[in-house]
Symmetry: C2
Subunit: 279 residues, 2 copies
């Protein structure tokens, strides 16, 4: 499987960085992650937009324009021979002279097989727990998942599939995914502050706007617990119903009507993109 590092394609086993890189010295790096279907990188413009935005906030210079990044990504997908793949772009603080000051960034792009959620995963839904935590620089897709990785054994212990963060009284996001609720008035709501704005989140908001009222605003834990439907969105997850929160069932404990409808619409959207674009 081939990889792109800074200015050339290399083999996967060469995809290494020296330990002086600021990603390893100080966890200072960003990444982004998109998925392909039928060899087409879905929503690539949105992912590249976010990648450049993360880089700008971190004060990283991206030495490639959108056309160049896009060409590299398409070439990696072609070389991989994969119909469904995960493309990861990473930009680090570079080889730091004093292990603290950022230097010229290292750019690393990989294309690997990806496991996406299945229809069975959708039917089964997720059991989740809540945890008070606020990600640093939440609008940036940084590599900092310290709390998330550290919480993994707790998830196992609680037999939960994921953990939803909250900040004071407001829910924010999952470590790698966004949250939506459907209120008793059939309004779709998702948090707008202190989160990373997901690309699937954006697409779901757009699809929902055709069929129902949708709002981006603060959601309290209480409102979450009283929601008719709750679901989570992410690149590899697409849309997964949340059927249990802290051991209490959401609604009747089954995937809800709106959740099902949005899921179907999203599958249609990605298929239309994958098979339309590739022709």
């Amino acid at each position: 499987m081939s990889v792109y590092l800074n200015d050339r394609f290399i083999e996967n086993n060469e995809a290494t960085l020296h330990v002086s890189d600021l990603s390893m010295q100080r966890g200072y790096a960003i990444f982004d992650f998109m998925r392909t279907l039928n060899g087409v990188p879905l929503f690539i413009d949105d992912y590249l937009n976010r990648f450049y935005a993360s880089a700008e906030t971190m004060r990283f210079t991206v030495n490639k324009n959108r056309k160049e990044l896009s060409d590299i990504i398409y070439e990696l997908i072609k070389r991989s021979g994969l119909n469904e793949a995960g493309v990861r772009l990473m930009l680090t603080g570079g080889y730091s002279p004093d292990s603290y000051t950022p230097s010229e960034p290292n750019l690393l792009i990989t294309c690997n097989p990806v496991k996406t959620a299945t229809t069975e995963d959708f039917e089964k839904g997720f059991s989740i727990i809540t945890h008070e935590h606020q990600r640093e620089l939440p609008q940036v897709k940084s590599i900092n998942y310290l709390t998330a990785v550290w919480l993994q054994p707790l998830l196992k212990e609680k037999q939960a599939n994921d953990v939803l963060y909250y900040n004071k009284e407001s829910i924010t996001e999952f470590p790698r995914s966004n949250v939506f609720i459907i209120t008793d008035k059939n309004i779709l709501v998702t948090p707008s502050k202190n989160i990373l704005k997901g690309i699937t989140r954006k697409q779901i908001l757009s699809l929902a706007s055709e069929m129902m009222e949708a709002e981006e605003r603060n959601i309290t834990i209480e409102e979450l617990l009283n929601a008719k439907e709750v679901f989570s969105t992410a690149t590899t997850r697409r849309l997964i119903p949340v059927i249990k929160i802290n051991n209490k069932a959401v609604g009747n404990g089954e995937p809800g009507v709106f959740t099902k409808k949005l899921y179907k619409e999203f599958l249609n959207l990605e298929k239309s993109l994958a098979y339309l674009v590739s022709r």
Copy 2:
């Protein structure tokens, strides 16, 4: 300069990790950093204690006992030929199969030239600013310095040497160093919660106990701003007076009496260790 990786000594240019390591995927790694004088790793027992404690909290297995780690460190110092060096131990989440789940840790130990604060740095003192931030898992020396590195341009803009974090109304620590104050009653105080407990901090508390009252407790921002003396402690910094906070002078804007005395005592302590042990 030679490096130790997992089970062998390698050259510095070979000190690389594959990008699938959880340090680069998810910022999941710990480290520790000690300093040598006259070839002696100062307070090595304290640093190894903290390294093992960080590893335990992160649920990493250290495949080396204290004797083995210590032997490797002494060998690296010998090979470096340096009288004053910085020894960095790093333990990562390992090569993760799914870029999220920890695997067998990678252990990397380096020994490099180190720049320590000089007497001139001490005399000049530090100008600092304050910033609201709480490190995740503060008791662990993780590689997460996202906010710290991100704040560097702000420090330049404010012509400040460092930034002191606070959590709600209480001061906690600098990104890489601890904080102490001397109250108007000549009591030495340092925060005890939500911080990484520094080795220099420990030694200063021990030295101070011979000459004055010392307390580990909560310190409000107001108490900080009214302190007679303020200083910062760290491995390469030793002890540096804080002479200005958010542009307001501390005391008369000069290094204070107790700060000077503790600094002198600390220099004596490290010399006695370095030259006693090496004989």
